[in-house]
Structures are given as structure tokens and as C-alpha cells.
């Protein structure tokens, strides 16, 4: 725990030391102000009056106090309205970048792991809160020790028994509070399942995406039944736990006041009236001091608990930031952007945590400038093959080499930079058209961007509407209400333009034409093959007429290469490819396929 606290303090301090110091000072002055004003100020004034002190002395005390309090208000106004919000932004930026850089560096497989997501979600939402929370808790605890200590000594000098009373609430809070939280937590745990179901329905019903199904079917009735069941379950749970929670809640909320207020008054009155050992001024100081001190002690303990909590969360953030990547980057620089060959040698692969092999003993050779199509049924391992080539995962067995060198030896970022990739689930970013094609901050490539857009077939559309400004138009309405929203097919064309950008290297396209109509698809493949003459192009497609254009076709089946060759060779072989081709392109009345 202390290590976590240290870690948080270190980060908070590193982010902005001035802010850390000022934060402590403001908190200290605030506590001092509150205690002074509520406990001592009145009492002192009344004491002086009772003791017939010199009135100028009274006015002097009042004057100084008011001046000090107004000064604090000035400091706080400046700190909370000018200094802190401004400084916080920079600190937040530093924290966020730590998270993002880590997220961009960890293994891709983590993204398929729910536990990683738990850690990530928590770390990213809490890094901006928790480090500062720890700093603030530690400041408050130190301030608490100073101020509470002073108060305690004051009360102790006035009355030892009263000093003891102040500690009662802590014990009550501790025992009762623990039971209360345990019961509430039990209820919460029982409710998790029903709450999730209820939230799901409440969310789905209002979502646009589901509205058509809900309108045109009976599913609504089913949903409302399930909604009612979940709701009934929640009510039953409340009835089951409610009484116990109510009892503990009552003890928790009433008992503290009973001690710090009623019993304190009874006791102080006893001393003032029966033993006659308290003046009116002391009487007021005493009852106010008991109320304040016991209140602040409870707060002090809460701070401790909150610090303990924060430390746990900090541990979580720390484990995220220290997450290791299993893909070691090599040291070899990528000497040549021209790729002369890719070779898969007996590559096998299974996804982490799975025993089933997703790829079995795959061998494959690609020469400079070749155009390769990979086809196969859903789940045959096509996309996995691509992921291995891109080093998003490492092979379990065998070896992949580029230009004759095992890809693990290359410097990872440089190696990945060889590829221009269009994924099946490509993404469009809320950035300019140019940035969406370049995917980098580099500028000065207007001509190649235009020709890439030309080749992917979207240029005429953009140019016609926006002229030369088209490249600088922001895509999506994410944070620009004038942002450009295009159809799925048009967005796909912008993504495809990425493959045309880099000269040399390797272009990879995973199902690049799924959202295109046949006309656009034909054009796109035609351009791809002509514009990428000097590049290796590897594409996955379900459309076999497109695959037929490739120099070589690899047919994947159950994680292995079933057959490969040119379209003509494969048609002659009458193997898997032949059957697929026939089925996709012939009517089933004529041809063999219909007879099966």
C-alpha cells in the first residue's frame, strides 16, 4: 500500500510540484480557518467579555481575525478559480498521454481479453483522479494530525472526560459502518445480475439500431416481460435486505449525534451548573470543540479509508502502466523499403489461451511485385495469417521472413511501417481527408494523396463537391458539425486509398470491397493491380471474380493451405477453389453444383 501511495505521490509531484505545494497550503489554511472560526473565535470573545477584558483588546482580536479570514478567502478564490483549473489541464494531459502511449504499445491480444479491459477502463478513468486524490488525502491527513492534535489538547486541558467522548463516534462508525457497508454490498451483489438485464433492455429499447426489429416483430412483448422479471427480482432483494440495512443505517446516522451533541451538552451543563467549573465562554468552546473534533476525527478516519482505497486503484494504474509486451522489438533496421520477398516456413499458430491451432504448418512464398489472393471459408485462418505477417502476433512455430530475414529481428515500428493495411473493419478518423489517407502528421504529400484517392475511386466525388479544399475537409461529425459524413462504400474507398499511398513495401487488404457494389469493386481491383505495380499486394476476398485477377491464389481450409496456383491452374485442378467458384458464379439449375 505504501509503495502505491509513494508511486502516486511521485507522479503527482513530477507532473507539477508547485501545484502540490500550493494544494497543501490551501487545505491547511482552510482547516485552520474552519476550526478557529467555529470553535475558538466566539469562545475567546465571550471569555474576554466575561472576564471584563479591555474592549480595545476585544476589537483588536476581532479585527485581526477578520483580516486573516478575508485573506484566506482571497487566496482560495485565486487558487481554485485561476491557478488550479489552469494547472490541472497540463497535469491531465501528461497522465492521459501515459495511458495512451501504453495502450498503443501493449500486445493486440490484450484487446481481446476482458481482464485487460477491466484494468484499462479503470486506469484510464482513474489516472486523472487517483494520483491527485492520493496527494489530497495525504495533505488532508497531515493537516488533520496538526489541527486535530491542537483541538484535542485544548479539550484535554478543559476536560479529560470530554476528550474521551470525542473518540466514541470513531468506534461506533467503525463497527456500525462496517456492518452497514457489508449489508449494502450484499444487496448490491445480489442485484448485479438483475440490474444488468434491466439495463440491457432499457438501453436496447431506445437504440436506433434495434428500432426496425422492434417495430416489425413481437420481440417487444418478450422484452417487457423480461424487464418486469428483473424489476420484481430487485424489489424482492430490497425487501430481503432492507430491514437489516435500515437498522444499521439508523445506528450509523443517529448514534454519532447522540454522543457529540446531546451527551456533550448534558455533560458540559453538568460541569457548568452542578460542579460549577466552567464559565459560559468555556462552556461554548467545549461543546463546539467536541462537535468539531469528533466530526473531524470521523473525517480523518474516512480519509484514511479513502487513501487505502485510492492506493488500491493506484496499484491498478501502476499494473497497467507496467504491462509488458510479449512482442520484443528487434534491433535490425529495415534497410530497404523495396521488399524482394516474403516467406512463411511451416508456420503454426494458436491464439493465446487456446489449444486449437488456428494455423497449421503453413508455407508460402511471395516474390517482389506479386499480387496474391487468399480465399477460404469464414474461420479458415485468412485473417490470422495476415495478423502474423504484420507481427500483431508472433508465430507459435515456424518462421516468417521478409527479404530473407526473420521478421522478429527487425525493429518493430520500422517493420510495421513497411505495410499499408486496409483491414476488413477499417476505421475512419475524425480528422481531415488527407490525414485519413496518410494516417500520420506528415504534410506536403498533396499529389500522392490525390492520386491515391483517384485510384480508390472516391476522388471525383470529393473534387466535384469541394474542389481543392477536399483534402482538408474533416470527416465525421464527431467534433465538427460541418464534418463530412459519407456512405459505408465511400468511407471504404477512403480507407482503400491508404493502400495506394506508400511506394514500395507491401499492401495488405482484408475484404476491401465488402461495402462496394460490383461496378466500384471492379474499378477498385483494376486500379489496385495497375497502380501497385512495384508493390507486393496481398488481399483477402470472398468474391472469387476478384481473386481470379491475382498472380497466385492461396486457398485456406481449416488453418492450412489447401491448394494454390493461378486461377486457370486451380480451375483445372477441380479442387476446393473450383467448387467455390462454380457455386458463386453459376446458377444452380445449370452446372454440377445444383445436383449436390
Amino acid at each position: 500500500m505504501f509503495r502505491n501511495i509513494g508511486y502516486a505521490l511521485k507522479n503527482s509531484w513530477a507532473a507539477d510540484p508547485t501545484r502540490a505545494i500550493l494544494d497543501f497550503c490551501v487545505k491547511f489554511f482552510f482547516r485552520a480557518y474552519v476550526v478557529f472560526y467555529n470553535v475558538f473565535f466566539l469562545g475567546y470573545v465571550l471569555n474576554m467579555i466575561e472576564n471584563n477584558a479591555d474592549t480595545t483588546y476585544i476589537w483588536f482580536l476581532v479585527g485581526i481575525s477578520i483580516f486573516a479570514m478575508v485573506s484566506y478567502d482571497g487566496l482560495a478564490a485565486w487558487y481554485y478559480n485561476t491557478y488550479k483549473p489552469y494547472a490541472d489541464q497540463n497535469v491531465k494531459k501528461k497522465y492521459k498521454k501515459m495511458i495512451y502511449k501504453k495502450a498503443a504499445a501493449v500486445d493486440l491480444e490484450y484487446y481481446e481479453n476482458p481482464e485487460f479491459y477491466d484494468i484499462y477502463t479503470k486506469a484510464s478513468s482513474e489516472i486523472t483522479v487517483r494520483f491527485d486524490q492520493v496527494l489530497s488525502d495525504v495533505s488532508e491527513l497531515i493537516v488533520g494530525i496538526l489541527v486535530n492534535g491542537y483541538l484535542f489538547i485544548t479539550i484535554f486541558e478543559l476536560d479529560r472526560f470530554a476528550a474521551v467522548i470525542c473518540f466514541f463516534p470513531i468506534f461506533i462508525k467503525n463497527v456500525v459502518g462496517r456492518n452497514l457497508n457489508a449489508e449494502k454490498f450484499r444487496l448490491y451483489t445480489e442485484n448485479v445480475d438483475a440490474n444488468r438485464r434491466k439495463d440491457y433492455i432499457q438501453r436496447t429499447v431506445y437504440l436506433k439500431e434495434y428500432s426496425k426489429e422492434i417495430h416489425t416483430s413481437n420481440i417487444f412483448q418478450l422484452m417487457s416481460d423480461k424487464f418486469r422479471c428483473a424489476s420484481d427480482e430487485l424489489i424482492a432483494n430490497i425487501s430481503r435486505y432492507g430491514v437489516r440495512i435500515a437498522v444499521w443505517d439508523f445506528l450509523n446516522s443517529a448514534s454519532v449525534n447522540v454522543f457529540t451533541y446531546f451527551i456533550a451538552i448534558m455533560y458540559a451543563s453538568y460541569r457548568a451548573l452542578v460542579t460549577q467549573t466552567l464559565s459560559v465562554g468555556e462552556y461554548i468552546i467545549l461543546i463546539n470543540a467536541i462537535a468539531r473534533l469528533s466530526g473531524m476525527l470521523v473525517e480523518f478516519v474516512d480519509r484514511g479509508i479513502s487513501l487505502h482505497e485510492s492506493a488500491k486503484h493506484v496499484g491498478n494504474i501502476q499494473s497497467f502502466l507496467n504491462m509488458a509486451s510479449s512482442l520484443d522489438t528487434g534491433v535490425r533496421a529495415v534497410a530497404d523499403k523495396e521488399v524482394s520477398g516474403i516467406a512463411f516456413e511451416n508456420v503454426s499458430f494458436s491464439y493465446p489461451g487456446q489449444t486449437r491451432l488456428s494455423l497449421r504448418n503453413v508455407s508460402m512464398h511471395v516474390n517482389a511485385g506479386e499480387k496474391i489472393a487468399i480465399i477460404g471459408l469464414n474461420g479458415a485462418g485468412k485473417t490470422t495469417l495476415i495478423k502474423l505477417l504484420l507481427r500483431l502476433y508472433d508465430v507459435s512455430e515456424g518462421k516468417i521472413s521478409v527479404n530473407g530475414i526473420n521478421i522478429k529481428e527487425y525493429q518493430l515500428d520500422e517493420y510495421r511501417n513497411l505495410f499499408s493495411t486496409v483491414f476488413q473493419d477499417f476505421k475512419i478518423y475524425a480528422a481531415t481527408v488527407a490525414e485519413n489517407v496518410v494516417l500520420d502528421t506528415e504534410t506536403g504529400m498533396e499529389d500522392s494523396i490525390d492520386s491515391a484517392l483517384q485510384n480508390s475511386g472516391i476522388y471525383p466525388y470529393l473534387y466535384e463537391r469541394y474542389g481543392n479544399a477536399a483534402r482538408e475537409r474533416i470527416l465525421t461529425k464527431e467534433f465538427d458539425d460541418n464534418g463530412l459524413v459519407l456512405s459505408g462504400g465511400q468511407f471504404q474507398k477512403i480507407a482503400i486509398a491508404r493502400a495506394f499511398m506508400k511506394s514500395g513495401g507491401i499492401a495488405i487488404l482484408d475484404e476491401p470491397s465488402s461495402a462496394l457494389d460490383p461496378l466500384a469493386e471492379q474499378e477498385m481491383f483494376h486500379n489496385l493491380l495497375s497502380a501497385c505495380e512495384d508493390k507486393i499486394v496481398i488481399f483477402i476476398s470472398h468474391r472469387l471474380t476478384a481473386a481470379a485477377l491475382a498472380d497466385r491464389i492461396y486457398v485456406m481450409q481449416d488453418g492450412a493451405v489447401a491448394e494454390y496456383g493461378t486461377h486457370e491452374q486451380l480451375m483445372e485442378n477441380k479442387g476446393t477453389y473450383y467448387h467455390m467458384y462454380i457455386r458463386q458464379n453459376k446458377k444452380f439449375e445449370n452446372g454440377e453444383a445444383a445436383n449436390e
Partner: protein, 583 residues
């Protein structure tokens, strides 16, 4: 001004009444507990303190003081006990019931709403989406009213006390409050302007966070330098935020200091205190107890007034939401209201599009232009067309999701609007291009209705028919296995292709007379695609089938092929024929 005021109060009362209709006891208990709490707190914080301090000064008998305190304590304990019971048993149960009843009736309303309301982003975000928090907002309305009540009682108690001792406290408190009121208004205005300016950089910042977070972006982030673009955007947005903060910092600091430093500390804690100390010491017009009571009471009085001032914007805020709530409730469904309730024909009947045109609004361009099309009973029609030609729109009109802008669609010689809407959807079944599965069981997803165990065999047959495979059979729960883990922790995740097959089973599960497919095989490999197509056409026998696809073999069994181009239907189109390789 006056009109607006009655408006927001009436709105809040309207919501109060909505809640009272569902959980009448909630407000009754809550408000009576609040009255008790306000009175007891006023008594404990001020009256009792005045009493004991005076008693000490005048040397009352200890027993009297003790007795007094015990009575107060008993009242306090009773009040806390009632609150605990209500807060932990009664209130959560009632809130749960409110959530259920209120949401259910909103769900129903939403279901009846015309689909076009979901297309209008503003209306959708403002009115549809925000209804998911209707019941929490309703409780907020009651809480606001409750706070108002608490502070009104508290003010009465303080005024009564202070007026009986010395009126200056009220004057000071009021001056303070009036100043605070104007300063707060000014602050709120500045903050409003500031926050408005902060929205765009804030959106950019959130966006960057989301991109790094979402798994679907992870590959591209690793394969490209887009992260540089994103981090630059983050830098820019923070810089912009900082400059906006800086711009307003000075004014906000001054406002804050005037409010707290000058009016609160200097005036209330300083000058007023000097006055009552003077009265206590020099003019000796008040007792120690009264001094304490004034000191605390004027403070409580000020806090309550300030609280009430702050409650007003909350009421206005609530009122804005309630306007949306009312608008959502009042929203008419044109399609439903114009719907007749004629029974559907017993079997597949002729469908005729007669001069049908459609556009989303009066300003937008026509998506369908003068479409004429006649589909004979039991005919199988294939529709081809490039992206954006109007194919899906044609389907939506036939499904009565949108009203035609001109012309009419006839089924069995009658306008489709004459038929009962619910029965219509039993007559005509559809798989949308962007179909959705629900996180319920496989069986429920196929039936889109509740499932009875006696139907198990039929469901299995249907799944086998569409080539779904047996992944689910290996699980303990078979066809009752849930789809995805969103609803049921033991659910199974299915691939895109498997999901498409479940969706396809829907059209076969019911005995529809007309079935519409929009790109039914887009996520499938050639072999599954082939299987599916066989299933579609074989199951359709005497049904009317309308099928949209880019793939030639999907439609090979069609009796007739039609083409769509720029919102119009053409029977022959050589260019499209060539593109789709139809010979």
C-alpha cells in the same frame, strides 16, 4: 416573464403528479419526514442552544436542563428511525416500481413512434434517448420540491426566532443573500459562456480517449502513425482548454472573492458579529443565549435563502426535461393513426407500387421517383442496383416504416395503410441489411417472441435448415443458450456469419406470405452463401419473395429481375446487367 414562471412550476407539479399516480405514498412519506426534519433541526441548531446557554448563565436547575435535552434527544432518535426505515425499505422499493411502470409506458410509446423519428438525430438524442432517465429525473423533481419545502420551513423558524430578539441579523443576512444572488447569476453566466466554449475541445479530448480505448482501432493504431495525429489533437484540445480557462479566470476569481471574502466573511462574519458583540457587551441588550442564537440563526437563515435561490435554476432545469418528456408522450404516430384495421388476405396477394415517390423531408431530394412495380402473388423478385439506388428505401416503404410522399402501395388491391399494422407484420417478414440480434436465447431470437420448450425440435430443424451448425448443441442449454454476454453471463458469442444465419431462420420460423431479404448473405463465405440461398428459395414455395443482393447466385431462382437506378425501377438495364454478369 410571468408566463414563463408559471410554466416551469406547472411542469414540476405535472411531474409530481405523474409520480403520485404511480407511487402515491412516496411523496406523502417523503414530504412529512422532511417537515419533521426541518422543525427538529431548527430546534436543535438554534433554539436548544439558546436555551442551554441562557440556562447556564441564569443558573437553572440541572434537572430541568437535563430533562429538556432528553426530550430533544428522543425526538431526534424517533425522526432518524423513521428516516432510516423509509430510506432503506420503502423508498427503494417504490423507486424500483416507478422505474418499471414509467419506463414500460415509455417503451410502449417509443415502439409506436414512427421510425422516421429515429432518423432525426436531434429529435432522437433529445427526446428518445433521454427518456431512459425519465424515472430518475422524476425523482429529482420530487427531491427538488422536497428541498424547497425544507428550506421554507427552516426560514420561517429562523425568522420567528431572530425577529423576536433583534431584527438586524435578518437585514445582514438579506444583504448578503441579495449580493450572493447577483454575484451567482453573474458567475453562472460567465461559467455558462466558458463551458460553451469548452465543449468543442472537450469533445475532441473524449474522442481521442475513445479511439485509444476501442478494440476495433487497436490494429490500425499499431500499423500506422495515426497515434501521432491523435496525440497532436489531444495537445491542441488541452491548449485550447487552457486558453479558455485563462480568459475567464480573472473575472471568476474576482466574483468568487467578492461573494465569499467580502460579503460572507467581512460582512456576516465580521461586521455583523461586531454589532452583536456590541449589543452583548456595551449596550447589554441581549443575553449570551440570544447572542449564540443570533450568531447561528442568522447563518442558518442565510443558508436557507441561498439554498432556495439555488433551487430555482434546478426547477427550471427540471422543467426543460419535463418539456421533452411531455413532447415525447404527446408525439403522434402518423403511421399508426392512419392505419386501418382491415384483416390481411389469407395468402400471398398482389403487391402494386403505383407512382410511388419518397423523400425524407420537404427539403431533401427524392430518393424514389415515380416508382411503378407490380409483383404477382407468389412471385420471386430479385432487385439489383448500385449503392444508393433506393433499394432499401423501397423495402422500408413496403414495410410501412415510412409513409410514401406521393403515390400509393397496394396489397391485394387495397392501400397497405388500410390493414391492421400488427397483423401486417405477421403477414410480411423481413431480414434487414443491418439486422440485429438480441442478447436473449437463440430460440427467442429465431422466433422474435417468447419460446416454449415444446418448440425445441422445430427450432433445431430451422437452425439445421439454414446451416447454422451445432456449436450451440455442445452447450448445456442448447437452443436456450443466450446470444452474447450482454444479458446473460453464460451467453455465447457468434461470428458475423452465424449471426446472419440466426437472423435468416426468423423468416422461415413464421408462416409469412411475403418475405423480404436485404443482402441476406453479405457476411458469408461462398459455401455458406450457397447453402443459405438454397434454404431461402426452397422454403419460399408459394410465398412472395423480394430479394436484394449484389451477388448473382443469390437471385438465380428469381422469376424476374428488376433493376434500380437513381430512385427509379427499370425492367431492363444493359449496363447493370453487364456489371452483375446476368446473361
Amino acid at each position: 416573464m410571468n408566463k414563463k414562471k408559471t410554466g416551469f412550476i406547472a411542469n414540476n407539479l405535472f411531474m409530481l403528479k405523474e409520480v403520485m399516480d404511480i407511487i402515491p405514498l412516496y411523496a406523502v412519506f417523503l414530504l412529512s419526514l422532511t417537515v419533521a426534519r426541518a422543525l427538529i433541526n431548527a430546534y436543535l441548531n438554534v433554539y436548544l442552544i439558546k436555551y442551554v446557554v441562557d440556562a447556564i448563565q441564569s443558573r437553572e436547575a440541572y434537572e430541568t436542563v437535563f430533562f429538556h435535552v432528553v426530550i430533544a434527544m428522543t425526538l431526534f432518535i424517533l425522526q432518524k428511525a423513521c428516516e432510516s426505515i423509509f430510506n432503506n425499505i420503502g423508498a427503494p422499493r417504490m423507486k424500483q416500481r416507478l422505474n418499471y411502470k414509467m419506463q414500460l409506458s415509455l417503451f410502449e410509446k417509443g415502439k409506436e413512434l414512427d421510425i422516421e423519428n429515429y432518423d432525426k438525430t436531434d429529435f432522437y438524442n433529445d427526446f428518445v434517448l433521454s427518456m431512459s432517465s425519465a424515472d430518475t429525473k422524476a425523482i429529482e423533481v420530487i427531491d427538488t420540491i422536497n428541498d424547497l419545502l425544507y428550506n421554507i420551513i427552516s426560514i420561517f423558524a429562523m425568522v420567528t426566532l431572530i425577529a423576536s430578539i433583534d431584527i438586524t441579523g435578518l437585514v445582514f443576512a438579506l444583504v448578503n443573500v441579495v449580493a450572493a444572488y447577483f454575484l451567482n447569476i453573474r458567475t453562472a453566466r460567465v461559467n455558462y459562456k466558458k463551458n460553451l466554449e469548452l465543449i468543442p475541445p472537450g469533445r475532441m479530448e473524449t474522442y481521442v480517449g475513445r479511439i485509444f480505448y476501442l478494440p476495433e482501432y487497436a490494429k490500425e493504431i499499431r500499423m500506422s502513425n495515426i497515434k501521432k495525429v491523435l496525440l497532436r489533437d489531444l495537445d491542441d484540445s488541452i491548449e485550447e482548454t487552457r486558453s479558455i480557462i485563462k480568459k475567464y479566470a480573472r473575472e471568476l476569481t474576482i466574483l468568487n472573492f467578492s461573494n465569499y471574502g467580502f460579503f460572507r466573511t467581512f460582512l456576516m462574519r465580521g461586521v455583523y458579529l461586531i454589532i452583536i458583540v456590541y449589543k452583548l457587551v456595551i449596550s447589554k441588550t441581549i443575553t449570551f443565549g440570544s447572542f449564540m442564537a443570533l450568531f447561528k440563526g442568522s447563518w442558518e437563515f442565510k443558508n436557507s435563502i441561498e439554498a432556495i435561490i439555488n433551487i430555482v435554476p434546478r426547477l427550471v432545469d427540471n422543467s426543460l426535461y419535463i418539456d421533452k418528456y411531455k413532447a415525447f408522450r404527446m408525439k403522434k404516430s402518423t403511421i399508426r393513426e392512419n392505419s386501418g384495421d382491415d384483416p390481411l388476405p389469407g395468402q400471398a396477394a398482389e403487391i402494386v407500387f403505383r407512382n410511388v415517390s419518397f423523400r425524407y423531408s420537404d427539403e431533401s431530394p427524392y430518393i424514389l421517383k415515380n416508382v411503378n412495380l407490380c409483383i404477382r402473388p407468389g412471385e420471386k423478385i430479385a432487385i439489383y442496383g448500385l449503392n444508393g439506388a433506393g433499394k432499401s428505401t423501397l423495402i422500408k416503404l413496403l414495410l410501412r416504416l415510412y409513409p410514401v410522399s406521393a403515390g400509393e402501395i397496394l396489397l391485394g388491391g387495397k392501400n397497405i395503410n388500410c390493414y391492421s399494422l400488427n397483423e401486417y407484420y405477421h403477414y410480411i417478414g423481413v431480414i434487414f441489411q443491418d439486422f440485429r440480434l438480441f442478447a436473449f436465447s437463440i430460440a427467442e431470437n429465431v422466433l422474435l417472441d417468447s419460446y416454449d420448450p415444446s418448440e425445441e425440435e422445430r427450432i433445431k430443424e430451422l437452425l439445421a435448415y439454414v446451416g447454422f451448425g451445432d456449436k450451440y448443441e455442445r452447450t448445456q442449454r442448447g437452443v436456450t443458450s443466450a446470444v452474447s454476454r450482454e444479458f446473460d453471463r453464460e451467453g455465447i458469442n457468434f461470428s458475423g456469419g452465424e449471426q446472419q444465419k440466426i437472423a435468416l431462420a426468423r423468416t422461415i420460423a413464421r408462416d409469412y406470405s411475403v418475405v423480404v431479404y436485404d443482402e441476406p448473405a453479405s457476411a458469408l463465405d461462398p459455401i455458406s452463401e450457397y447453402e443459405i440461398n438454397k434454404a431461402i428459395w426452397l422454403s419460399s414455395k408459394d410465398k412472395t419473395v423480394i430479394c436484394i443482393s449484389h451477388r448473382i447466385n443469390t437471385n438465380v431462382k428469381a422469376d424476374r429481375t428488376i433493376y434500380m437506378r437513381e430512385g427509379q425501377v427499370v425492367e431492363n438495364d444493359e449496363e447493370l446487367e453487364a456489371i452483375y454478369q446476368i446473361s
